[in-house]
Amino acid sequence: MKLLKLTLENFRVFYGTQKLDLEVSEDKPAVLIFGMNGAGKTTLLNAFTWALYGTFSDDVERQERVINDHAWAQTPFGGLVSASVKLEFEHEGLNFTVHRAVTTTKNADEQSALTPKLTVTQSERGASTTVQNGQDRIQKILPEGLRQFFFFNGERMERMFTGDRTDEVQQAIKTLMGLEEIERAIGTHLPAASRKLSRQVGSNGDGRLQALTAEQDRLEQQKIDVHKELLQLSENAAGYEREVEAANRALLANGKAAPLQRQRAKLKFRLDELVAKRIERQERKRDLLAKNSFLAFTGGIDSTVLDLAEGMRKRRELPAGIQRDYIDGLLEDGQCMCGRDLPEGSEARIALEERRYNAGLADVESRWMYLRGKTADLTLARADLLAKLRECVADIEDIEASIKQIDAEMSDIARELEGVDVMDVQRLEERRKEFDRKRLDALQQHREAQSQLTELDEQIEKVRRQFHSARVQDEESKRIQRQVLLVDEVLDAFQRILAVKTEEVRQQLDAKVKSVFGRICIRPFTPSLTTSFALELVNHSAGVAAARSTGENQILGLSFVGAVSELTKETYDRKQKATDAVLGGGGVYPVVMDAPFGNLDVAYQNDIAESLPKLTSQIITLLSKSQSRGMVLEHLGQAASRMYVLRSYTTNSDADEDSITIHGREFPYVSHGEFNHTVLEEVTA
């Protein structure tokens, strides 16, 4: 696969038509594209994969906005608007054009997700035809499973070997290396041909062969059923495993957070106590004020009254105590207590009546006395109220200070717990156990189903042998028996060929990965491709699995890409020269990479910049200014057939315009414009 040209039409940040010529010479396999952050490097990388597979990588935001925002805004409601990517490439002597487009009638301000339409055209010697099953064709040229190895973001490369992608990678490598066709022959077409031939023993043919064919059909049907069950069990086990892993991750996160969570719970309890206490103190204060606040307004009056009463007492102005009703009795009887008569208007009666008046003042005096006692109580009560109010206020202030302190502590904890999906640890543990038990059950059932499958295979094999060796009388049945025997011989040969070739590919790939990795990585690590095509890294000085850093994972990823590229190219070259009918697979594949150096330090960047052009026969590299300095640019520049700048136009007049220096010349990098968009500009000498 050799990339020839990429044409973008209103595709995301790219407005209008933008073309990227990708043809390279043999000695200069690189195309370099420079762009600032946000200029569209990731979009450009995704333009290749969107054209080929119709999907974006996970790091692309707002994936529904395929059509350029300005083009969308310019389109009136009810008007048609579209975006497309056209990728032209050559593969095994044929030219292909992959065109993927979205077209819609604008009926809202915002775009919504659209289903793109794919057209694949194949041309050979000037004649061009539309490929009916275009996506399948692309899949066979460059399987999507390998997309992560040929179209990737260096900053995300360390994720290549994480997660459960081994099967996908193994299958994709098999497709690339021409092993898929053998698998299809073994898995589907040769057994089907064998059975079809077996069934051709007609009703007049050999009865024994007919019985054996019927028996095989029965066993094959059982095998299909068990196989379905196996798939379901695998799916279940994988699903349960994902749940267990998720619970493990949550447990780990919660485990780290557990002391903080405990502390937070303790603080929350204390906080609730304080809040309740504050409410209680406030109510107490309110109650004190409601019942006794009048005391605050009597301050001074009581002492004045006391002074007055005391003065009167001292001046004997408060009369002595004589009962008024006693005098009333004397006046009514008309005789004084001294025996004197008290006729009306007499001097004695008038004197007694005056005494009666004064006798009323005794109550007054008694009240004065009572008031004096009470007034003294008031002073005490006021002092007491003041003390109690002060105590309440002090308590409330203390409580509020404690609440503020706890709030601050809880805020710290909340910050530390940010990003942790806080769950109840016990519930998590139960969930983990439950799914682990389900997973183990599913695996046990899977093992049982597999044994059943092996048993069925053995029974089928036995029936086949009986079919091959059955003594047959009629000529027609003998002929069919020979034909079945031939197909079965080929089936057996293909099974052995697959085993040999798979191991051969694995060994070759393993050697290539080791070689490429050794050229770049300075640490004593050796990569190793397991029999299940999983990539491991061994620390050979310690003889244990290496603890891989992000940088090492990036180098491992690059090594794997380089190894796959080299191996497929070598196989392809061998196939071109050989006349061997059983040599398949291989090919030449490009590598398109964004931020190839990821987070690597300068020493590694230089090594990789030197190694990159040797990885494959065509390498499209997207770089920012900071990633293309000094030796890096020198190495890559020497290997470049073409260079482009992603020129960003911005409406932000406060932003500084910028340029990039390539081979001593300045090229616009950021410019002011009427709307935000990016333009591809070729760097010419």
């Binding site: 099953n133 399948d136 064709r137 899949q139 066979k140 021409g178 898929e180 066709e181 053998i182 299809r184 022959a185 589907t188 077409h189 040769l190 089907a192 041909a193 079809k196 031939l197 002929r479 020979r482 034909q483 025997l485 031939l486 197909v487 011989e489 080929v490 040969a493 293909f494 052995r496 060929i497 085993a499 040999v500 070739k501 798979t502 191991e503 029999t531 009918a581 059983v582 398949g584």
Partner: protein, 54 residues
Amino acid sequence: MGTTESLKDIMDGLSPEARKLVAKVWQLEREHLHVKNPTLLTDEIVRAAKELAK
């Protein structure tokens, strides 16, 4: 894997008809690889087998 035989060993151990059929099947599979379920492929293998083992 533990396999020690080579591709050549396998091919050399086949009958002449089987060697021809291996090549034919491989060619058919490669031609139809981009089609998920090629309906006629099995019939073509049957036809080739009948041709080779009359």
